[in-house]
């Protein structure tokens, strides 16, 4: 089996596991989500017809009228059709629509912030490792302490300092509410302006991990024979650093993307909440606070798929930047 096929198979397995987890969790835990949902629905003036109840039972269990396997199949069928149920907190909107509105905000914010953080962290880590023994070494403990700071705490401090005190950034939100969402320059400008502080929070708290990992690998790579060969070849320092040392040192950072992305996504959920950012993280918390189980599950699923997808892309890229993995026969 080729490298790409193996990776694809792995992510399909992970996807199946996530989907199944999503199915099993509400059935395993105490409480009766379906009843709570129906009560909520009634409060909001929703129809309490048996069809709605059946739909929630397929999603959350405790139906009792079908076997476990039948419920599971019905659940998978709904998922395949993209039917994630109806949101209670945003009734009568469908869960898929609520997610569809929120997702682009998060993807752009978290995606860009992660990319910036990765590039900055890896770049700085390479330089710090290369210039070992200079004052740059002190960057390592400094950024590590920053990454031990809780995201939300840092976010709130930044808001208090930069927004409330200095007025440089807006307090919260994803855009200026007087503008109509669209592709107009004003709106995009406003979105960037509002997104800067949340992105800054994510970058500050996640850069330390990339930096440390890259720096350590850089130090190891620099004592490898191929770097010695490169020096003997009389190449310029910058070329040795980039093409020989950093090119090899970056591999574990890329391979470890999965672990880091998990942290970033987790942190950004709380960050979104702090900034009342119109993304999927604040929607998830809104769902939790309103016992909107359908939305909760839908969002978990979407976050998982997004993380899996990002990792799949990174793994495929990894095959491109390290030829050895393509030829290896074992799954690492």
């Amino acid at each position: 089996m080729g490298y790409y096929l193996r990776k694809l198979a792995f992510y399909l397995t992970a996807l199946w596991a996530a989907v199944t987890l999503n199915f099993v969790i509400p059935r395993m835990l105490p409480g009766n989500p379906v009843d709570i949902l129906m009560a909520k629905l009634q409060q909001r003036g929703g129809s309490v017809d048996p069809a709605a109840r059946t739909a929630y039972e397929t999603l959350l269990g405790r139906g009792g009228r079908e076997s476990f396997a039948e419920e599971y199949l019905a659940y998978l069928g709904n998922l395949l059709r993209g039917d994630l149920g109806v949101s209670v907190s945003a009734f009568p909107a469908k869960v898929s629509d609520v997610i569809g509105d929120a997702l682009p905000w998060t993807v752009v914010l978290v995606g860009l912030a992660t990319l910036i953080s990765f590039l900055l962290g890896v770049g700085l880590g390479a330089v710090v490792g290369w210039k070992r023994g200079t004052w740059l070494d002190s960057l390592v403990p400094a950024t590590t302490v920053l990454s031990a700071v809780p995201y939300f705490w840092l976010a709130l401090i930044l808001v208090a300092l930069l927004s409330s005190q200095l007025g440089w950034f807006p307090l919260n939100g994803g855009y200026d509410v007087v503008l109509d969402p669209g592709w107009s320059p004003e709106f995009i400008g406003s979105a960037i302006y509002h997104g800067t502080l949340p992105a800054l929070t994510i970058v500050i708290s996640s850069i330390g991990g990339w930096l440390l990992g890259m720096r350590n690998m850089m130090v190891s790579a620099m004592s490898e024979d191929y770097v010695l060969t490169a020096r003997a070849k009389g190449l310029t320092d910058s070329r040795i650093m980039v093409r020989y040392a950093a090119r090899n040192a970056v591999l574990p950072s890329v391979a470890g993307f999965a672990i880091s992305l998990g942290f970033v996504v987790s942190g950004s959920i709380v960050t979104e909440q702090v900034f009342s950012y119109p993304g999927i993280g604040s929607k998830l918390l809104q769902a939790v606070q309103n016992n909107d189980y359908a939305l909760m599950q839908g969002i978990f699923l979407v976050i998982t798929i997004a993380v899996l997808g990002a990792n799949l892309v990174v793994d495929l890229l990894y095959g491109l930047i390290d030829a050895r993995t393509r030829d290896r026969s074992t799954v690492s």
Binding site: A14, I25, T134, T144, S147
Partner: protein
Amino acid sequence: MTWSPKLATGLGLAAAIVLFGLIGPMLTGDPATIRDIGLTPPGAEHVLGTTLTGQDVLAQLAGATRGSLWVGVLVGVMATVLSGIFGIVGAYAGGVVDEVFSLFSNVMLVIPGLPLVIVVAGFVPADRRGTWTIALVLAITGWAAAARVLRAQTLSLRTRDYVAAARVSGEKTWRVICVEILPNLLPILASQFVFAVVLAILSEAGLSFLGLGAANASTLGTMLYYAQNGFALQREAWWWFVPPGLVIALLGGALALINFSIDEIINPRLRDRARRKRDVVAVEAEVVPVDPDAVLTVRNLNVVYQAETPVHAVKDVSLTLRRGEILGLAGESGCGKTTLAYAINRLHRPPAEVTSGSVTFEDFDVLALEPDELREFRWVRLSMVFQGAMNSLNPVTPIRAQLHDVLRTHRPGMSTPDREVRCAEVLRLVGVDPARLGAYPHELSGGMRQRVMIAMALLLDPQVMIMDEPTTALDVLVQREILNEIKRLRDELRFAVVFITHDLPLLLELSDRIAVMRDGEVVEYATAEDMYLRPRHPYTRQLLASFPSLTGEAGALIT
């Protein structure tokens, strides 16, 4: 072990915070006591001020620190046990168990943890969310990364001889794991435990801040939750909001410092090292009377490793390499021959330093070259072939890129097609099909890689080539082929060679002249013939005698 400042700071900070969490609550009074002095700034009465309802922030902080530490330790222990089971046991058992365990760990790793925890916490009714529930959920979502690291380590450990020996002698599996494997994993386990504790404290803080933490628990996260809901920052009551986050950050920072130190114990290469400002200390300005036939002249060269007890690795070595000559450098491992070779090209690394002597190439002093001049000297005039071509080639780029690199740097005017032609030419010279230019190092055999290295060394027609044990890692047949290749190329292209090896008989056959090194000194320097027929130094005789088949039968050696 010497205590690095990092370890001392880390341990000191962590100990202070843990003590604060353990003893603090007994000294600071009841954190829940409500007074009518809400939001008093820090003062003599209340060192860290009061909350909205007049509770003492310091007392709250002490209790919350204790709560957070408790959650952290609970999760740390559970996650470490889980990662041990899935990482160590799986890797040790091997086969299907390993496949399944490893797949499971990897799946758990890519499923994002906190969203899962939030969903689970969302389903469990608030009154049934206890500290243990939260800890369990955090442990279940947090063990996978550690398991992966442990698996990799265990896989490498289980093939070690002492583990194999224990298995063969019929020891029980659990005994082998506990006695032979676990002790070797301790530094990693410790580091993973520390990491799990930090992560748990952070995650718990996030959960509690969102109002999804354990009911009735008092942690740094719940404290922040109340501070936020009491609009602490908007009311500028920073003394209520800042301390809990700071404790988390300091604890995380302290544990990270401890982790650094553990990393440095596992991997000594990461240890702090002062940057070397110079590689050459004293360059003697003496004008060496240059032998018109000499291409490389080394005079009284001394190289010292400036460790706590300096090691004098090369002592007063003087050698002359004439045009087209093969100079053999023989000696056992650690005699300083590689250090000498590197010093000639100033490739020696800290803490090695050239303390005195001179290296003259034709008519200029190599030790006096400025960095840019040195760069232009390397490979153009003097190229090197290193021991173990296995690692001398960059594993992630095709060999084409590594050959082109040389030309691109030293022949900036050369066009890409011309470079390609030159690369193909040198490959043909060493008997490698130019079609292999696109190959990665791992796709070539050991002998092939060494040929590629020699081809690379030939690219710029250097006057001198230093070869450091170029054939040691190869089998005898390939070794023979490559040696013949080197002789042929030398005859064809007339470059001079410094050939380094511990194999004196091989040098007798290959070299024009030979220097025998011992403890950093050249003990004998003579033509190959003289050395074979009339070895003067006892050490040389000893080296020759250690190859009995050769001393028995003379004549067929020198070609």
